[in-house]
Symmetry: C2
Subunit: 317 residues, 2 copies
């Protein structure tokens, strides 16, 4: 079985983004270790550029473009961290970025993307409008589409997290990462299992957006419908490129309730003093869940803290 | 002029607390640097044990006690970070700790101290009741009093922050630290100026609790009266042992409004993703103030982030 990317793609991505993306630190917290009954190694992507791991994938994709393509600029549709990531990666390369965003997106998100120098184009908040607007802009500008997760270069960029984590915390026997579209977990799988096939990879998913868990159970890609969770970075469906990796290389999808996510978020803020976003807390909640704690043969766990972009006006407690 | 402590006391404190206290990391943030117009090096004591620098002083004081004194236990009156710090330092040495706390203190603070194994004794919320209760407990138990700042061993312990900071960020030309009772800033002065007399030390103080600024102007120790600020760790008056160091070695007290403190707090949370408490944000606010920015001969600034114990139910925005 071949996948969209292999370990060598991740290694090339690491070379490509070196000096542009941060090598984020790994933190530990004795209080959390006691609660989890395991040693947790937090890979702190909240301190990545734009405050989220998404910068790695966007940066890899943008820097990999041959000059003649890069000159045409890049385009995406997103109102989340990928939009900011692509905007900054494009600005760093000195090329244009266009971001299609539903006109209902919070003003603060639009402003953040514009501050990174991208052009924001508003569309109606429907899938059809988003695709039509994107297609029209692509036709007009010739810009290259860089989607948020279902793209080999994006997946390879996210996988660089695992290369760093395994250097920084070599004792790690398992890695937990949140799953939304699957770009992060797929990159982590390919990198980690490429380095050491015995590493065990777990995906952490909100119960209210559990397409990955249902897809794993069904053995086929099922779309996300009507997601309801505070982990607003994990609302999307898996992609055609990320799903095969998840299907074959993720040992289990651990689903957690919004209550567990909020509890984990508070522990991370109050005890570890790590300011992470709810989507990142999903992986922490999974590590604290009784079903993961029951895996007593796992003692050292890497946890990807995916980002730290929180709306301080709307905290979930 | 001799002070309560010298550089050698701080060096001995550093040896004494090594392995018990954390050597905290130094962080930088490009966004904050741009706003400040200088390079800021954040010494991250929010990740110190108990979430605040106070553990250094308490740990030094407790570990320095000769065995026959230590056996009698330790006592303090505090409802803040020093109470937790002393409780943990005592537990680590296997001795008793007694904490006198006004009965009006938040339940969560009482509980935190008790979780570290200390005995909490409630008293009426008056200075007279606090002193009477403490004296009575001392008489009953023979416990050694470790006050929160006005004590040589506590001051020396806090000074270890500067030893580490100057190793971690050797370019630093100036250090800003918050000032309340003055234990932190006095320790930092003695350590930093002992190593390099040309280092410039600034104290950061809330305008609503500006006894240090008024004392500096008057040239004599003036007490704090009726303090009003969200920086609830900085309400106390300077002490007799800390004041002479502040008087002679602090270049200037930079006062900042609560509005500036909240603004700095939000920048640190939202941009730097560093979860600090309002009292720590006072030093950041001072670094961002126009009067400090006007000092164009200072380019590299160490900033002591004093702690990260925040009440998430009562955020100031």
């Amino acid at each position: 079985m071949t996948y969209a990317i292999g370990l060598s793609d991740v290694r090339q991505a690491a070379e490509r983004i070196a000096g542009w993306a941060h090598r984020t630190p790994v933190f530990t917290c004795a209080t959390l270790n006691r609660r989890a009954g395991k040693s947790l190694f937090f890979k702190c992507e909240q301190w990545q550029k734009v405050g989220a791991f998404k910068f790695r994938g966007a940066c890899n994709a943008v820097r990999k473009l041959p000059p003649e393509q890069a000159a045409r600029g890049v385009i995406t549709h997103s109102s989340g961290n990928h939009a900011q990531a692509l905007a900054l990666a494009a600005r760093m390369r000195g090329i244009a970025a266009h971001v299609v965003m539903p006109r209902t997106a919070p003003q603060v998100k639009r402003k953040a993307v514009e501050e990174y120098g991208a052009r924001v184009v508003a569309c109606e908040p429907t899938l059809a409008a988003r695709e039509a607007t994107t297609a029209q802009l692509q036709a007009e500008t010739g810009a290259i589409l860089i989607p948020p997760y279902n793209h080999p270069d994006v997946m390879a960029g996210q996988g660089t997290i695992a290369l760093e984590l395994l250097e920084q915390a070599p004792l790690v026997e398992a890695i937990i990462a949140p799953i939304g579209g699957g770009g992060l977990i797929a990159g982590v799988c390919v990198a980690a299992k490429g380095l050491n096939p015995r590493l065990r990879i777990f995906a952490a998913e909100p119960a209210g957006a559990d397409d990955a868990a249902r897809s794993k159970t069904a053995g086929k890609l099922l779309p996300q419908t009507n997601p309801q969770t505070i982990a607003d970075g994990l609302l999307t469906s898996l992609g055609e490129l990320t799903w095969p990796v998840v299907r074959d290389q993720v040992e289990r999808v651990l689903t957690v309730s919004d209550e567990e996510i909020i509890d984990a978020l508070r522990w991370m803020w109050e005890r570890a003093k790590l300011l992470i976003e709810p989507s990142a807390a999903v992986a922490v909640a999974a590590a604290l869940s009784s079903s993961f704690q029951a895996l007593t043969d796992i003692q050292h766990v890497g946890i990807v803290l995916s980002g730290g972009n929180v709306d301080l006006e709307r905290l979930p407690w």
